[in-house]
């Protein structure tokens, strides 16, 4: 005689579990048959998640221009831009694997929750296969983690915190942009040459993931050249008036101010430091100096004359003379009447790299794309020979040390390239303590199946 375990309580439990399963957001289950958002028609959709409102909206607008241009080039419209100089030749202007590329856009508002909401909507409602864009590390880390869970590729836009490919690295996420460590490694030797080894630095640091890692990195690299760190003061993001943080600097015995600020904060803190006469001051018998570790064209334009002679670093700049850069600047410049910004370049390149990886893999499945990108070496996209390192999905390439130009002739050349630091000088092991050490792991690639 058989006895069944079918009880009322058991039925309720099973029912609840089934109900919860059915109620799960579709992004976690929709790929059960193949993978998330597997394309079936003649088109494929990409999601460009950039700040269209909020403090980095101008940067987001430039990213959108570049993404639009990349899609045109992938679909065979226009002059092809960097596809002509890219070392991989599999993209032939017929879209990706014969499917025409379309795109949808989302607004990150430079807020993690808004960025996740717009990414989620693009994945669930629009069925995008890849998300690209953004101008903040806080946003990048949040969206990268969402894409990982959803089984979608994340090709990061502008994100400079060590954490994005450090302790928060994810298998489905790839970063072309450089990071705080690389900025610091490139800047250190240049600062030693121009300001010497006997310097005392005072740091003002934006109080969030990017600021902390930027400060930690530049402190390490300046101390390595013999500088002393006098103080590090954390400032709230969007403080506006930095005067009360700037006034104690001269009294502290420091002779260099390092501004670990970005965007509007950097524009304000640098301008106010100049207003308070720091650049004209003498300290410890030396000319007082200011350093801005991370530059962008839009920040430089915002800060105006105040950046003259101030050192910083960039991932890429339109004034580079290599073939790839020239091809990109030409197609971007002819279409939009202005040279592209660094964040525009990164988004353009990431979109091309994604399309190329899918084509080389012969499949849209994210795990196949991840495999195609891991350890991929390429050239012709503007920074010389570049490696997408398999261990942490960080790109390694030359880094630019920049300086505010003394006599700019147009509004676009207010920064000048001081040095192209070779990649060997900025590379680090994947388990570097600033990048999460041995515990940092990409995890498994997720295709949503």
């Amino acid at each position: 005689m058989s006895k069944t375990n079918f009880t009322r309580r058991g039925l309720i439990k099973t029912g609840a579990a089934t109900g919860a399963g059915l109620a799960l957001p579709t992004i976690f289950t929709s790929g059960a048959m193949g993978f998330t958002n597997e394309p079936t028609g003649s088109t494929v959709k990409l999601g460009f998640n950039v700040p269209q409102t909020g403090p980095y909206a101008e940067e987001g607008l430039d990213e959108l221009r570049a993404q639009e241009l990349a899609v045109e080039h992938i679909n065979g419209i226009g002059d092809g831009g960097m596809l002509n100089t890219f070392s991989s030749k599999v993209l032939d202007g017929t879209g990706i694997l014969g499917k025409k590329v379309e795109f949808v856009t989302g607004d990150t508002q430079t807020k993690s929750d808004a960025a996740r909401a717009s990414a989620k909507s693009m994945i669930e409602k629009d069925g995008v296969l890849m998300i690209n864009g953004g101008s903040s590390s806080g946003v990048a880390v949040a969206v990268q983690s969402l894409c990982q869970d959803a089984g979608i590729m994340f090709m990061a836009g502008l994100t400079h915190s060590n954490d994005t490919t450090g302790k928060d690295r994810k298998a489905n996420g790839f970063r072309h942009f450089f990071n705080a460590y690389m900025s610091a490694a490139a800047l250190g030797p240049v600062l030693k040459n121009v300001y010497g080894t006997d310097r005392r630095a005072y740091h003002l640091t934006a109080d969030y993931t990017w600021g902390w890692t930027q400060q930690e990195s530049i402190q390490a690299s300046t101390e390595a050249i013999g500088w002393e760190t006098v103080n590090n003061v954390l400032t709230p993001v969007g403080a506006g008036d930095f005067s009360s943080y700037i006034t104690p600097v001269l009294q502290s015995g420091a002779d260099v101010l390092i501004l670990n600020h970005y965007g509007g904060d950097m524009v304000n803190s640098l301008s106010q430091a100049v207003q308070f006469g720091l650049r004209d001051a003498m300290a410890n018998g030396k000319q007082f100096e200011i350093v801005v570790p991370l530059y962008s064209e839009l920040m430089a334009a915002g800060a105006g004359d105040n950046i003259k002679g101030v050192y910083g670093s960039m991932n890429w700049n339109w004034q580079l003379t290599d073939e790839g850069t020239q091809a990109f600047v030409k197609s971007f410049g002819e279409k939009f009447g202005r040279p592209p910004s660094g964040s525009a370049h990164t988004c353009y390149v990431q979109t091309i790299l994604y399309a190329d990886a899918v084509t080389r893999a012969g499949a849209f499945n994210p795990c196949a794309v991840v495999e195609a990108l891991e350890g991929f070496e390429f050239d012709g996209l503007g920074n010389g020979p570049t490696l997408y390192r398999a261990e942490d999905h960080q790109c390694f390439k030359d880094v630019l040390v920049m300086k505010g130009a003394e006599n700019p002739t147009t509004e676009y050349d207010n920064l000048e390239i001081v040095e192209v630091t070779p990649v060997d000088q900025v590379i680090y092991p994947p388990n570097h303590p600033m990048f999460g050490g041995d515990e940092a792991s990409l995890g498994e690639c997720n295709d949503g199946a």
Binding site: G240, S243, S244, P248, S271, Q272, W318
Partner: protein
């Protein structure tokens, strides 16, 4: 000692802006009984009047310079400001350089007009409605105004420099016997403080020494009696709204070299200015001014590293802490009339 003097100086310019905005808020609350959450937006609009004038003076036509090339290798198009070609480079450059102070002349009529339109077009319909309705409608208006500014000027801060004559800083320490470079203070911030003192003095004088001001003060004290005397107090109060808008506007104009204007600067200042009004005493003009400077200086002190080492994050909350203490112990505020906020 030098650190204390520095923080007092630092507090003065921020305090000046708080005082000017709070003065306008108090004027509107005292006359019309309206809690105007759009007042910060008026400060922001003033700042953008300065930006607009600078852009207007900077408007240019393209001239091709065959000797140079642009980023695409084509002959460089050089922008020549119209003012340079109309008035000669000397006058043209002077106009561009002095655009911020000159913007005051433009901002006064513009802000008076904005104030009149705002009061007649929207706010007057809410006089008899509860404060919650007034707050909602003015807050909504503030958001509309800031989005409009963002639409036209973008989201990034726009550098709007002081005249060259006022760039750089003044070695205040050397004047009072300290070592050089110990207490330095930018010239423009001194100008701002002096400007705020003049504006505040002018508003007080206007209210105290003119017949118009006397009637307004009488209306603030007892509106019904003044109306019974056959005086159209509404019209005067509307004018006061315009004046309060103008004060906020020119405060914004002159603040642009200190803080690059962006569309949300008004909201940043508004919340703090409300706290200033509450601390100073709702409806008290001297209270608003005194509390503005007091809280500006207090905020500066709270940002000192030594203080933050003891109480982390105190610089972000100090003003609100003071507001809580005042509301608990003296709800009418420092110089407020007995009865206001106490019932």
């Amino acid at each position: 000692m030098d650190a204390i003097i520095l923080q007092i100086l630092n507090g003065l310019d921020k305090g000046s802006a708080y005082a000017l905005i709070a003065l306008g808020l108090t004027l509107i609350f005292g006359t019309l009984g309206v809690v105007n959450f759009a007042h910060g937006a008026l400060f922001m609009i003033g700042a953008f009047v300065a930006v607009s004038l600078q852009r207007l003076f900077g408007m240019s036509f393209e001239q091709i310079d065959e000797t140079k090339t642009d980023f695409l290798g084509n002959p460089l198009k050089v922008n020549v400001p119209y003012v340079d070609s109309w008035f000669g480079p000397d006058v043209g450059e002077w106009l561009i350089d002095w655009s911020v102070p000159l913007a005051i002349l433009v901002a006064i009529p513009v802000m008076l007009l904005v104030g009149f339109v705002m009061e007649r077009g929207l706010i007057k319909h809410f006089y008899k409605r509860p404060h919650a309705d007034q707050i909602l409608v003015t807050f909504g208006l503030a958001i509309v105004l800031q989005e409009l500014i963002k639409y036209f000027f973008g989201a990034n801060p726009i550098q709007t420099g002081a005249p060259d004559a006022f760039t750089g800083s003044f070695d205040f320490g050397r004047l009072i016997g300290f070592d050089p470079n110990v207490i330095i203070y930018p010239y423009w911030r001194l100008v701002y403080f002096a400007f705020a003192a003049v504006v505040i003095g002018a508003v007080f004088s206007f209210l105290r020494f003119t017949t118009f001001g006397m009637v307004v003060r009488a209306g603030m004290a007892d509106r019904e009696t003044v109306e019974l005397l056959g005086i159209n107090i509404d019209r005067r109060f509307t004018i006061m709204f315009g004046i309060a808008a103008a004060v906020a506007g020119i405060a914004g104009v002159m603040y642009t070299p200190i803080l690059a204007p962006n569309y949300h600067m008004g909201m940043d200042f508004l919340v703090l200015s409300f706290v200033v009004v509450v601390v100073g005493g709702m409806g008290s003009l001297p209270g608003a001014v005194a509390a503005g400077f007091l809280l500006g200086i207090l905020q500066s002190f709270a940002s000192m590293n030594e203080i933050k080492a003891i109480v982390p994050g105190i610089d972000q909350v100090i003003i609100y802490l003071v507001a809580i203490i005042i509301l608990l112990t003296r709800p009418r505020g420092l110089l407020g009339r007995a009865g206001v906020m106490e019932d």
